[in-house]
Amino acid sequence: MVQKIGSQYKEILNQYMQRQSEQNLYVGQNFSRQLISENTSPEDVISMHKAAMQELYEDMPETVWHSFDFLIEMMINYGLALQERQSLLQRQEELRMEMDLAANVQETLLKTTLPTLDGLDIGLLSVPLRKMNGDYIYFISDKKGHAGIAVADVIGKGLPAALCMSMVKFGMDSMNDSMAFPREVLNTINRIVEKSVDDSMFVSMFYGRYEAETSILTYGSAGHEPAMLYRAETGEFEELTVKGLLLGVSPMATYEEKEVKLEKDDMVVMMTDGVTEGRTADGFIDREVINELILRKKGEPAQVIVQYVYDELVRMQNAELSDDFTLVIYKKV
């Protein structure tokens, strides 16, 4: 095999020595591709070159042959760098496959099914920027018309954020209380995150508790993007701002709670900063833009509105998101 390659090389080299044409150089370049695909190292190529030259031009001065030996010595580390690159590429591929698997596991783990609840029409969407999602939508409800809806965002992206979010999910799941008030939920999750997660990991969360009987939404926030409330009567949006530290900052953090009564066709819009911090060529996409998009579809079911806002924002940003994107809209019907 080596001999065959050697004689092929000699032939190609000889052609070029006879006539220094572009054609012959091109043949050489194609041959180098074959050598690379067969993992031929640079030092072997030079050795082959030297052997070919010795056969073609045997009466060259000794210094020329010595120079090739020197060049072979020089190339050993280049050859190693090439092999290392190949093994790193392979490892990268393995990591990629592992990430795909992990992303699947996470998707199953954090899957939120579109809830049904009397009196509320709910739409939701969560799209990770990379493979793993650092955003999370939590939903719980009971037959008596109590519901809890949370949107959470880990400060950070990718794998660490996703691992952190899995823990938040288990915290919420183990509370399993559809009647819990935002203050209790945020306090509990804050303690969990503070205790178990790396100091550099923080989570923001907006939590809303809804009671169908009274149509009252009680909400609290841990340093999260304020939710928006659309009032059907006035056609205006208002921000649902409420004080509270990010989860995981301090075990002493306390969370404020406010309430608002929802009227027919009012909408609550909960989101992560991936929605509001999008950029176009003209600058940041501000809330006005998002409100405008929602208004255009306000008569449609909540899921249609959510999908529309996402599609439009992606289109405005030339299909490039800058962060995980999560949007929940619920409409009082």
Partner: protein, 133 residues
Amino acid sequence: MSNQSSVEIQTEWDIVAARQLGRNVAKELGFGTVDQARITTAISELARNIYLYAGQGKIEIQRLTENGINGILIIAADNGPGIPDVRKVMEDGFSTSGGLGAGLPGVKRLMDDFKIETTLGEGTDIRATKWLR
């Protein structure tokens, strides 16, 4: 002809002596220019590690014959601090990213067999073989 010889590594110049010894043996055994260069690069790497991390040690070159095939064995031994995390130094990209050269994964690639034994506080013993094909 003795089939065992060694060089003490204490200064950077001893690395050259170890290379020379390895090259002579490799040449006598009939290794071609490219394999000679690979063997000496491996010796360089091992001797440099001794010089840089253990301070002093020894490079030993042995001729081997197994099932009628000749080979060369490089033994790099030192009584230095040992390697705390062998798996890490055997990882690609660990030593090269710091600009330290081919590193131990490089030595492993240059040779056919590679064995490492290291004990913290006692030293390191590396054996690398190349067979003549």
